[in-house]
Symmetry: C2
């Protein structure tokens, strides 16, 4: 494969034809290298992981679902090391190109999947999202992307990172493809339908940089023309707390996941990823207990707010994609900022879609809808309908 995007795992050539006659016949897809492909080692973006694991005995459920529906697999895409990262920087396999902003990061950890779809190397790609790993690259590369309700799409055969956060997501360039693939992965029909009410949380928008808010304002204004848009505040106190406890819980979980392997292998990591394992033992049992309690309350709050006719609308990322050659300290700061917003659906296990809704100096800026628990098909349908309704605004901007 002539991979000018640097989106595919180097040296791995995997192609599987889709089953003829399915609803996705004619579409091509790629899978993040966190999904098992029978007969291949799932490398998870780190050469020491690849070297210490054997070939998969069967393909992941989501891969099988797309093949069964007729889509053809064209490759394995680069992920941030062991799925830890939101920027798409991989010091071992390279940082995939962001075709929409070539001097900026593509976002991660589903970096290669977003790059491949945005760069037209395939029509669709599977990603995973625990802390924002589909939503962020979708926003940065100007794509539709779904993080489903926790457990809504079968995660068998996908590398585990943080069990109460891990989801199977996907990317598409256009609304029609996004809806078609969503129907297959969700096993449910997806109809484009504008939601009855869109809630704009002022505290979520306040977290975003002015350039992001400005880029998204025309799309939100369009939404006002087609549906009922209201404002509220998500948090009773400080919305930044939501991300804080998301970080604590997720870190606690992925450390447990990787502890034995790290201890056994002494693997090589970039300094960025190694930092995720720093201050080991600094998370107290009390912090976990409090975080669990906080999560329960946050879930209840959003479940009450999002009955089956309302959706939340927030900026997907509070910042634009940073430069590809940014310093580590800049990277760390960016990741922290991003989780301030991605932590909302992460903590509450709710579905979120990114809509390519705006741009700033030609750099994509994504707008998200967060739907009710299990309302993934309605959410994908809403994204498609709103993208269509707001299209003039996006073009004009």
């Amino acid at each position: 494969m002539n991979d000018l995007l640097g989106a595919f795992v180097p040296g791995v050539d995997v192609r599987l034809a889709g089953r003829p006659g399915g609803p996705l016949e004619g579409l091509t897809f790629a899978a993040k290298d966190l999904f098992d492909i029978q007969g291949f080692v799932t490398g998870c973006g780190n050469p020491d992981w690849a070297a210490t694991h054997t070939a998969a005995e069967r393909s992941a459920a989501a891969v099988e679902a797309l093949l069964d529906a007729g889509a053809s697999l064209v490759g394995k895409t680069i992920t941030d090391e062991i799925s830890l990262g939101l920027l798409g920087v991989n010091r071992f396999y390279g940082t995939p190109l962001n075709p929409r902003a070539p001097d900026r990061v593509p976002g991660g950890s589903s970096s290669g999947s977003a790059s491949a779809v945005a760069g037209r190397a395939c029509d669709v790609a599977l990603g995973t999202d625990s802390g924002g790993s589909v939503r962020v690259p979708a926003s940065f590369c100007g794509l539709f992307g779904l993080r489903p309700t926790l457990g809504r799409i079968d995660a068998r055969g996908m590398m585990v990172q943080s069990p109460t956060f891990d989801t199977v997501g996907y990317f598409a360039r256009d609304a029609e493809t996004f809806a078609k693939v969503g129907a297959v992965l969700l096993g449910e029909s997806v109809a484009p339908e504008i939601p009855a009410e869109i809630i704009v949380p002022t505290d979520a928008f306040a977290i975003a940089d002015e350039v992001v808010r400005g880029a998204l304002a025309p799309a939100v204004d369009r939404y006002r023309e087609v549906t009922h848009v209201t404002q509220t505040s998500l948090a009773t106190d400080d919305l930044l707390d939501w991300a804080r406890w998301q970080r604590v819980l997720q870190r606690h979980e992925f450390r447990a996941t990787f502890r034995e392997w790290v201890d056994r292998v002494n693997p090589r990591f970039s300094a960025e990823v190694a930092g995720a394992f720093a201050d080991e033992g600094q998370i107290s049992a009390d912090a976990i207990t409090f975080a669990d309690h906080f999560r329960t309350e946050a879930k209840a709050r959003l479940d009450a707010l999002l009955d089956r006719r309302r959706m939340l609308c927030i900026p997907t990322s509070p910042i634009l994609p940073i430069a590809r050659d940014a310093r580590l300290s800049t990277m760390r700061h960016a990741v922290h900022r991003i989780v301030d917003l991605t932590g909302i659906a992460g903590l509450t296990s709710l579905p979120q879609v990114n809509i390519p809704a705006g741009s700033a100096s030609a750099i994509p800026v994504g707008l998200s809808l967060i739907g009710w628990r299990g309302g993934d098909a309605a959410l994908v349908g809403a994204a498609c309908a709103l993208a269509e309704a707001a299209a003039p605004a996006e073009r004009a901007h």
Copy 2:
């Protein structure tokens, strides 16, 4: 080079003939890849360091000194990544063989230098010692090794790690070579001479495992036959405090050294080395102030004890070399234990020699002498004389 030891930096072939007629004519030496060799990149054991640095414009002072004295350079040896480590495990270039204990680590960070000398790939090798990086591999590989008084051997052209700890050291297999090379590097004659008094600090021996104490007892008993051996306690309170403050100060310094590079490059490290940069910012200014004060007092205490006729005798390492395939947690525990003893001379900037003085199940166990400040030539001479005096004991064990 047919490097069965895995001691030399892969892919780097460097040979420089010594100046004819010098006192070291006929000897071969290797230099740890922390010493500049003109025209070659000093790789410092990490591929991202190598990739972000240019070739040295001139060779290090210690390399020049050995070449001028007639020794010929035969290669660059593997070091623990950016000199951080005491075990000799390098996940990028491999762990050099410990020829005396093939299933055990060679010790580090001057791992390749010790391996090359112990494995007879050269007669002598240069190492560096900040926290124990010559003393530990000398002990583990059964070699003579010197960590000199801070500043006593010219460190120009050697990678900086922690300026108030970094020293230029070296290894040799036999006393005669050890003395000859010491005279060149110290610029001072070295005469084998048994010290007038050897002080055995009970609190230092108490830190060592019983198997280490047992392996060293015959040598100490021999010393009693040839000189005056007395006992004392080094610390007024707890000797483990010395290592504690050594760790704080050294960590504070190497973080300052590498901070800009780590931030700029986001380098890849093994998890072991990445851990050295963990809990960044956890060292308070108060801790540094206290540690500095503690160091001043420890120096004064040892300077008062070690007048120009007394030397201290301690186990070089409190533990045997661990298994080559040990887990990360075992590695970390081992390093912590080792610094409990290497921190004594480290904190006080005093010279220390390792004497291959014993063994346990054929695994080398080293005994150290710590000399007075600047008494490096006398220390090397004492090591040679005592090794000779105790030789029957070592053979018998």
